[in-house]
């Protein structure tokens, strides 16, 4: 519950209809896309201007009420859950695409602008915004910035960080800072832009975003390669890299994922394959043709049993629709789908696939795994049921083992989903106490009162209890 003073200040700043306190609204914003996490916000603010965000920050700062910023809440690390109450600041009404600058290949947007809308606005001018998180049809750019979102095109095109050129951010003291700009090169002071990217709403509220665009690729084509074993698929992925091809996407789906997709949305994927790789190249038509031929050759040499090349856009789109159906298809397999995001250097992909398999079998679980093979970024998933605590504990232990294995392979606990609440206990597994201390020092410097997204990223270390770790 807001105090009367804070409510009055927020209403003064926001006007009617932009401060929600009904039970229905509080229930809606108590949750987000990450299963099994819920909070209890005191209220929800829907600002439309930077000035309103400043007023909210000042009012909440003086009242000592934390602010949980969010867009569409599609992150998968419980990063937008108001688990400590406080005010949810939702950017949904700050959703304008302010400019597509065709001469400088930039776009400026408000944080609530939807990723797919930006992509469409860029495409209308022959330009391209590559980052494509799985939730791109509803995710917001503000959320993409907060999470440093990835997607399928990162191997060639990089992640959100590589496209953000400048930000407007409201800091904890209510000051508004501008970082970066349209200059391709700019070394005037610290790179605050990239400090805010990926900071999960813990350092400030982003109110404007300037991103880089690139010319749309002229051509694209896709190879589907089917393998009798996971090892062969991982070897083929490594062979593509060894051939010095940088594909636009290099995705893989295991047998269980293929089965789920075909049952949910029949797409012609081979249900008898142990794994498939979906590999896209884009660019100059001659490069696409040559690279697809190279990709097909190395996949064949690595043991691909079936190879299909799709160069007409409709056929390629069908294959990619199948890949994009993986998550919704798997989500149908149980009351809740637990999905993780362990990532390894790409050369360790086969080791990581083996470790996932061992962790699942060790706990008597059936996993389905898909993900970004070219990035070493895997999404092992397991259907769960919150009503079955023993099952959930086994899933938990399996994922602990997976994180430990990823770290042992030089990997990380999260490639693209963020830390949020879901991974906060694991972050000290990934980072040394000294590195954690440096991050905390930065947090304290910019948000000394812990106003922004309190409790996210930083938490007490989670003890290692996974059975593999005791072996």
């Amino acid at each position: 519950m807001l105090s009367d003073t804070l409510r009055r200040r927020l209403l003064d700043a926001l006007g009617d209809g932009a401060l929600l306190e009904s039970p229905e609204a509080l229930a809606a914003y108590a949750v987000a896309a990450t299963p099994l996490f819920a909070g209890a916000p005191a209220a929800v603010a829907l600002p439309t201007t930077t000035a309103q965000v400043v007023a909210i920050v000042r009012a909440c700062g003086e009242a000592g009420v934390g602010i949980v910023p969010r867009g569409s809440g599609t992150n998968l690390s419980a990063g937008t859950i108001p688990d400590r109450g406080g005010l949810v600041l939702c950017t949904a009404r700050m959703n304008r695409i302010l400019e597509i600058d065709a001469a400088n290949w930039t776009a400026e947007v408000e944080p609530g602008a939807v990723t797919a809308s930006l992509q469409a606005a860029a495409a209308a001018q022959g330009l391209y915004y590559p980052p494509d998180p799985g939730s791109q049809r509803i995710s917001t750019l503000g959320g993409n910035v907060a999470e440093n979102s990835g997607g399928m095109r990162c191997l060639k095109y990089g992640v959100t960080r590589d496209y953000v050129m400048g930000l407007e951010v409201v800091l904890a003291d209510g000051s508004v800072v501008q970082t970066g700009g349209k200059n391709v090169k700019d070394v005037a002071g610290y790179d605050l832009t990239r400090l805010f990217v990926g900071s999960e709403g813990t350092l400030g509220i982003v109110t404007r975003i300037l991103v880089r665009l690139v010319p749309a690729p002229q051509a694209r084509g896709t190879v589907l390669a089917c393998f009798a074993g996971m090892e062969e698929a991982a070897a083929a992925s490594a062979a593509v890299i060894a051939a010095h091809v940088i594909p636009a996407a290099l995705e893989f789906l295991d047998r269980a994922t293929i089965a789920a997709v075909e049952s949910y949305q029949p797409s012609g994927l081979p249900t008898d394959a142990a794994a498939v790789l979906l590999i896209e190249q884009d660019g100059h038509p001659a490069q696409v043709a040559d690279d697809l031929a190279t990709i097909a050759r190395v996949c064949r040499e690595a043991g691909a049993s079936d190879l299909r090349t799709a160069t007409d856009p409709a056929a390629a789109d069908r294959l990619w629709a199948a890949r994009r159906a993986a998550l919704p298809a798997l989500a149908r397999l149980g009351p809740v789908l637990i999905m993780e995001d362990a990532t390894v250097p790409r050369s360790r992909l086969a080791d990581m696939v083996r470790a996932i398999d061992a962790a699942a079998r060790g706990q008597g679980l059936r996993f389905a795994t898909f993900g970004h093979a070219g990035d070493g970024n895997l999404h092992p998933t397991c259907p769960g049921d919150a009503r079955d605590p023993a099952l959930m504990a086994r899933i938990d232990r399996a994922f602990e083992e997976i994180f430990a294995a990823a770290l042992a392979l030089g990997g990380t606990i999260t490639g693209e989903h963020g830390v949020g609440l879901a991974k906060a206990g694991y972050l000290p597994w990934r980072l040394s106490p000294e590195t954690m201390a440096a991050m905390r020092a930065v947090k304290r410097a910019l948000d000394p009162g812990d106003l922004f997204n309190p409790g996210k990223i930083f938490a007490a270390p989670r003890p290692r209890t996974g059975s593999a770790l005791h072996a």
Copy 2:
């Protein structure tokens, strides 16, 4: 002068021959590549290991003696000048290339490794390290990281920041932090890696660097386009971008630069042209051929009087040698060459060229300008003479006007040379007090005692005295 206590601690840590205090050594490290700046170090340390760097940091921290980190000192912002005395920590002996990882397309180096050595080691495995600062034959990777160095390939390939995947850094309290790693995606905590990149040695001492490599391009080719006026050259540059070509380099030289180059190292540049553009493309042979044809066409349409296309490497290399000769050629024109680094969004290139011309004429000076047209990153230069204070004051005023003009065009005071001492007074022209305060807060958080490179980046604002600003 070091205190006896500090000297003893440093000698204990470093061993013989790695702590220099002779007048000759102190004189050598008092200066660096930026003309007109000199300091007076108390001593010079040449560590070989991270442990020695830690010992130096601890000893200097306790003694309250500042540390000025440097590699080859090739930065052009007086960033490595020990103007407040203290200890120069030179990484020259930490120069190993530790690993080229062909499977993950990464390289790990010590900070004193020379940029060109890394490029050669990568090339030996068919890989490519794109950042190419002008000083690449002697500059160190540690210096590149500190300055977020650019070069000629940034439009297509990005700057140093875009290649650094991870760092080992010694912090002010002597702790050693590891950031990033070989994972293409990793969102575990704040992006400290990119906070350190471009921080000019003010936040920590980098002791290891992990960089990303890319496959070497298969083919390359260059177009030389000659123009009767600067405006036409700027229009041609914009037309290349409008044609959605992303050249590997898009450089320009004005008439004065061409004359200096031809007098220094005859290269066949057209001395009757007002400006030339040198445009390189690399990649798939068919893409290179198509893009060079497009580039030639749009340059012709923009009024190019002469066009040469070089697709054999030797011919292309001769053209690029001419471009790389610009700085040494101009440096011969007077006792000292003052060079600047104003940068604008690429669409404002023609406006910036006009502003440089107006500033030079307003002060009765003859400028020569070259630079990275595709990045909007221009290097106006003027020969000076420290014995002529009136001349130096006019040059100073002209550059002030140039900075003010760049800022008015949405540009910045430094695209790739850094702030250091040389630009510290101008930084508050570029950044708001709120943004400066946020940067200072980060500095205080990580280096509360101002141990690292004290006095760099942050300084009192320089009053605006340029005559154009009074108009």
